[in-house]
Symmetry: C2
Subunit: 339 residues, 2 copies
């Protein structure tokens, strides 16, 4: 391991001061071009490694940005993260990623760790039940915060997410247009703003079409493939014999379709199913899934952009930015036929 190469090592080896070395390595115009070259060359030769903690101790900028979401293994968040990663990478920011699994405590630990590391900012998809103090903790310590995919009531934080109410109404209207009247809504929870918005979109679309809303047709549940798969039994044994299902997301929809197929029914003919998110998998499922694109890439990109802009000093007004979803019609939905 030899011994650590630091600015002073380079300085001594060249008979210069650390100040010059520091300036030169950061391309300051204060140091002469040829000395700069000489210094850079020497740094490379010695295998110098920039010590960010020492630097950030002085500058109070760490180049670290925290990102915390419910679960990175969920492709919905995965796609958002990918967009954030691209944008942050481009701006040479390091990012620290974490899941909170909807544990407020795990989320707070993350925020605290980030503060200890001197994080420059956070992008988060707040855990269910996030208390305002936790958000304030970040803010009072000078760490700006952007919300993504979920909003948080009672705050005016900049938020980027899809227009869920509108998106679900697109899917519901599509089914209504195909003649369906008994439409279930499968998966998810009503404990998040997203949940309430989505249910509202479903309700609104039905009402507008003069269809009565039957609370029994709302089957909440995990937002996973497994969740959808398990909901199939429940769904198929409803006394109302629904002929269509609006699912919380694509994962639930794919799980539900698998469950329905196992029961011997044909999705797209006997039962129509819509998803939400338009994951990569949606287009290659069997049958191909009719769904709503939630524009994950755009949502992630905008959130990252917003944070970077804020860090660069521009203070755009806070508020919720809703990204408009789009319908993707495929083979999992078809004309109404009585069951």
């Amino acid at each position: 391991m030899a011994q650590k190469i630091k600015l002073s090592t380079i300085a001594e080896s060249l008979g210069l001061s650390t100040a010059t070395i520091s300036l030169a390595l950061r391309d300051s115009p204060l140091v002469a071009t040829d000395t700069r070259e000489k210094i850079k060359e020497q740094a490379r030769a010695l295998g110098y490694i920039y010590n960010r903690r020492a630097a950030s101790l002085r500058t109070s900028r760490s180049g670290i940005i925290g990102v915390v979401v419910h679960d990175i293994m969920n492709p919905f968040y995965g796609e958002i993260l990918k967009a954030i990663e691209t944008e942050l990478d481009r701006n040479r920011q390091t990012f620290i990623l974490s899941n909170h699994y909807d544990s407020v405590e795990k989320q707070r630990n993350f925020i605290e760790t980030l503060l200890q590391l001197g994080g420059d900012g956070v992008i988060m998809s707040p855990a269910i039940g996030t208390p305002i103090e936790d958000v304030r903790l970040a803010e009072t310590n000078g760490m700006p915060l952007i919300l993504v995919a979920r909003s948080l009531e009672g705050t005016a934080l900049p938020t980027y997410r899809g227009d869920d109410s509108y998106g679900i109404s697109l899917a519901t209207n599509h089914l209504i247009g195909l003649g369906h009247k008994s439409i279930a809504m499968i998966g998810g929870t009503d404990q998040t703003s997203t949940g309430r918005d989505r249910y509202q979109g479903y309700v609104n679309a039905l009402r507008k079409a003069g269809i009565e809303v039957d609370p029994e047709l709302r089957i909440p549940g995990p937002r996973s493939m497994q969740g959808g798969f398990e909901a199939a039994v429940n769904f198929l044994s409803l006394p109302q014999k629904p002929t269509a299902a609006v699912c919380w997301n694509d994962l639930v929809a794919i799980g539900l379709m698998n469950g329905i197929a196992r029961a011997g029914l044909v999705v797209g003919q006997d039962i129509s199913v819509t998803g939400y998110d338009d994951l990569e998998q949606a287009s290659i499922s069997v049958p191909a899934l009719t769904t709503v694109s939630n524009q994950q890439a755009e949502v992630g990109r905008l959130a990252a952009r917003a944070l970077l802009d804020r860090l660069a000093g521009s203070h755009e007004p806070d508020g919720i930015h809703l990204i408009k979803p789009e319908m993707r019609i495929r083979q999992s939905t078809g004309l109404y036929r009585p069951r």
Copy 2:
């Protein structure tokens, strides 16, 4: 934002020195119990936040561990990461996650960033073509390195991964046992050690059963669902009319099954398909996927454990640790019937 609370703020407010505060907050027996309590109370009241960069500058331990894999959106890595996360969380280590997408450059950037941040160690699943220097870069700078899921020829680094050759031979033998003779191998690459091992396992099993190996039956390709889906066309038009396929992983298998279903054939009857990894999705696909559990959770846990042990000083011998995979038989495979 008021002004930053630091040790000296607390010290002044209590008429003590920063040394005492520092010691007290870290539960040193050097400071009297009642002063310690008083100090902790005051720290809480003032909203003190521990400055890790200042501390780690002095102690040269950052509590940061880097983890870099091919793609966190791939559930195979996702499951490994989840296990690593659990283990590191339990030991209060912060971890920084990154994808390298098999770009050696992106991987090196990550290692460099981690060095700059004073990372305590790295767990990585090396990108294809990783040069030894990059690994050495970490080591010569005192950052221990553990490999996971993939190995790297020419190094004696501690490595934790599944026994791929054995695992694939399990799947191949299962198909041979069902009477299949023309068995294709779909997806993946032969550029990684994993790839070569898996192909070897397939070849070995065939040879042992006296079946001739036909190179045309090896269809390499992306290790994604999309990849499997697209391989279906190729697969179905092979002149050898294979009746079974050993897939690189579950994603490829599910994609392939979807492709076969789209072509009107029934998986498990007309064609048998095996996966690899035993992802959560495997058990709920239609038909349920016969696959090989790669013990992701165990692999991740052991890798994290190995790094933590090393950081704690225990110097277990290096070397490759192969975790034994297990067969999971479901409905995607069935008795041989000529196509």
